[in-house]
Symmetry: C2
Subunit: 140 residues, 2 copies
Amino acid sequence: MQITSRLTVAAHTLAVIEYFKNAKVTSDFIASSVGVNPVVIRRILLQLKDAGLIDVARGSGGATLKKQPRDITLLDIYRAVDCVEEGGLFHFHEKPNPDCPVGGRIHQALDKSLAKAQQAMEESLSQTTLADILKTFAPA
Amino acid sequence: MQITSRLTVAAHTLAVIEYFKNAKVTSDFIASSVGVNPVVIRRILLQLKDAGLIDVARGSGGATLKKQPRDITLLDIYRAVDCVEEGGLFHFHEKPNPDCPVGGRIHQALDKSLAKAQQAMEESLSQTTLADILKTFAPA
DNA sequence: TCAGTTGTAATCAGAAAGGTTACAACAATT
DNA sequence: AATTGTTGTAACCTTTCTGATTACAACTGA
């Protein structure tokens, strides 16, 4: 089981928007670079727009960054595209037996450690910015 | 999208095995504490056994820890039950366009950061042991 | 008005998880 | 040796979630 590819698709999308910022970057264009259906890209553009990371021109078309690449982190993207729902990264089994001394307190016993692990991952994501990612594509 | 509940089920399972170690702990008994089907527990017991964390008595029945609770970490459990496949925690979109300057190098641009995030999470999981978890169930 | 795009709904197929049934293999007990 | 309880394992089903795809209304600029 893995985290949705929406994170890598969204990061790819933002990289394309910035790399080709002198042209009109449409969902079709992005889709051809990412290799997915344009509608998938549009849905992600919507999420990135809702998160305040980009502007999308309705009608005329084209997406542009709303913030500097150095001010957009992987964590921002991760959160924007809802990789993980409210319940957290780890999925708890839902029916532990409340009448069992272990089952009744298993949540309490695990939640803190799992939350820490999730935070550690998010903290790590927050240390990479879109600017870092774009360095890979910079002309030599 | 979330990580399989196998991690929490497996941790719950090990806690039950240790907490009730003076009795015979069968898959049916564990299943009633966890609140899932006994076959699900058996599948997980198999994985924990393959990982060298427990012994399972075929025929007569009952599972026992093979290591000290302090020597079993959440990371050991996480790895034992295959929460994440080889490809890593993050799922990469599979068909980036190799002919696009961005699509052709997006993997290279993201892989290191994503691997770091995954490692940060695993490192955090490795800091909690079964002994820590059992403290919650210790008699007052 | 027209052409090109975005926003969005609806539907589909495929994958993966967990639930469930069933039963052979096995070990201890009688 | 037969019985009993349990594990190992296959098979099948249902549910859920992506992402793919089609379709089309809404919108913008030329």
